[in-house]
Symmetry: none
DNA sequence: TTGACAGGTGAACAAATTTTCAGAAACATC
DNA sequence: GATGTTTCTGAAAATTTGTTCACCTGTCAA
């Protein structure tokens, strides 16, 4: 694999950043402006090079249309081990977690040092003109849901939604967010900790919930 | 929120699917072709409507350039339940999963019917100016890792990295991606299925891996 | 020195794409 | 049945965008 020149890498990065932030690709002239080229052809040449080197695929004739080839893996100086990208149909297509508040529109806080925490973060919010409740992630502390296989240190994705009987909700109790299962029984609403050692049902009059826990994430 | 008509919803869905699959937006003509309109203006009108209704943002004059507003959650007409957003410090800041290949730059394939699946999706490499290989997600099929608490239907985030002894890797065996634990023993490399019912160690000469499984996601 | 090559200028061209205009058909609503 | 709205047609205009051509400028190695 032929290596990219500095300019090529910069352009590729810019394109990535652009599409991540705005959700659509930059035009050749956008790139030209960004790098202060006097001619569109400077960009054109670079794009050709990027395509030739296999890191970018242009769609002939189509404006703002590219595909980015999967990144080449860093060389692994191991002996027998070889990398191979998965075929597209193996890839699970996710939806999106919109993070509330401060990081809603932010770019990923990718700190190499932090030991490659997995997972995601969502640029999007581009065009978020709604004050609708967003999904967000919470780190689980404690063992109140241990019997539901949600353990200390896990991360749950909290989504907005209509809480139904049996749902696990992020509820505000005494100003603190806790994970509980919502129980409706005899017209009354209860919260239940999924831990045998905890008291059974906790009746609630007014329930303040932050959302529904729908997904658990666990580090291996 | 004004509701979308059937055609509008279909067009919106198509656009989402297109961008998720190809990583760039369809042109008006693409949409026209898809829905067999005789005129581009049919599409144009629908796009106007979608924008007026706030679910889509067009970039004037730019081809194949849109932003999609985040979905609004269904209104909760429940009685005692109140929503409250979490404070920022409760929010876990994630890093980013870059999806390989086709969906690299895609937007979420959000199908309302599919019942508010949780989770994320990644516009890509946002700002990642690193040439590192991308992470991606795989849906787990089968029970080969059941003893490691990775079950059928779970989703694992596969990350690039130097595989070490004990890591769970996504390895290519007979052209199929499988999840196995990597064992180095006596200078040899083995793969081990974490399921008591499966044979112990599988010796490998040449190992083709797609990455390291570092995170499991499970739907509740 | 020469030649190859990455990087760039400038202008023009062709194609793709958005956008506008005027009007018609379908369809529900009252 | 009248009325208004949504949906669509057809063609044309305006603009954006990708593409091409001729030529210039350094750098680096043979």
């Amino acid at each position: 694999m032929e290596a990219l020149t500095k300019k090529q890498q910069a352009i590729l990065d810019y394109m990535r950043q652009h599409v991540a932030e705005l959700s659509y690709w930059p035009s050749i002239r956008d790139i030209q402006a960004k790098f202060r080229f006097a001619s569109t052809n400077a960009v054109f040449g670079h794009l050709q090079a990027l395509e030739r080197k296999g890191v970018l695929q242009r769609i002939p004739g189509a404006a703002r249309a590219y595909k980015i080839a999967p990144e080449v893996s860093a060389d692994l100086s191991e002996t027998v081990i070889r990398y191979e990208s998965p075929s597209d149909d193996q890839i699970v297509n996710f939806e999106e977690v919109k993070f509330a508040g401060a990081i809603a529109a932010g770019l990923p806080d990718y700190t190499e040092s932090s030991g490659v925490l997995s997972s995601m973060q969502v640029p999007i919010a581009a065009g978020s003109r709604r004050r609708s409740p967003e999904s967000f992630a919470l780190r689980v502390r404690g063992d109140s849901m241990i019997d539901a296989d949600i353990n200390d240190g896990d991360t749950v994705i909290i989504e907005p939604g209509q809480p139904k009987h049996g749902d696990i909700v992020a509820a505000l109790i005494d100003g603190e967010t806790t994970l509980k299962r919502l129980i409706k029984q005899g017209g009354k609403v209860f919260l239940k900790a999924e831990n045998k050692n905890y008291p059974d049902l906790m009746p609630v009059n007014e329930l303040v919930i932050q959302g529904l826990a729908k997904t658990v994430m666990r580090r291996i």
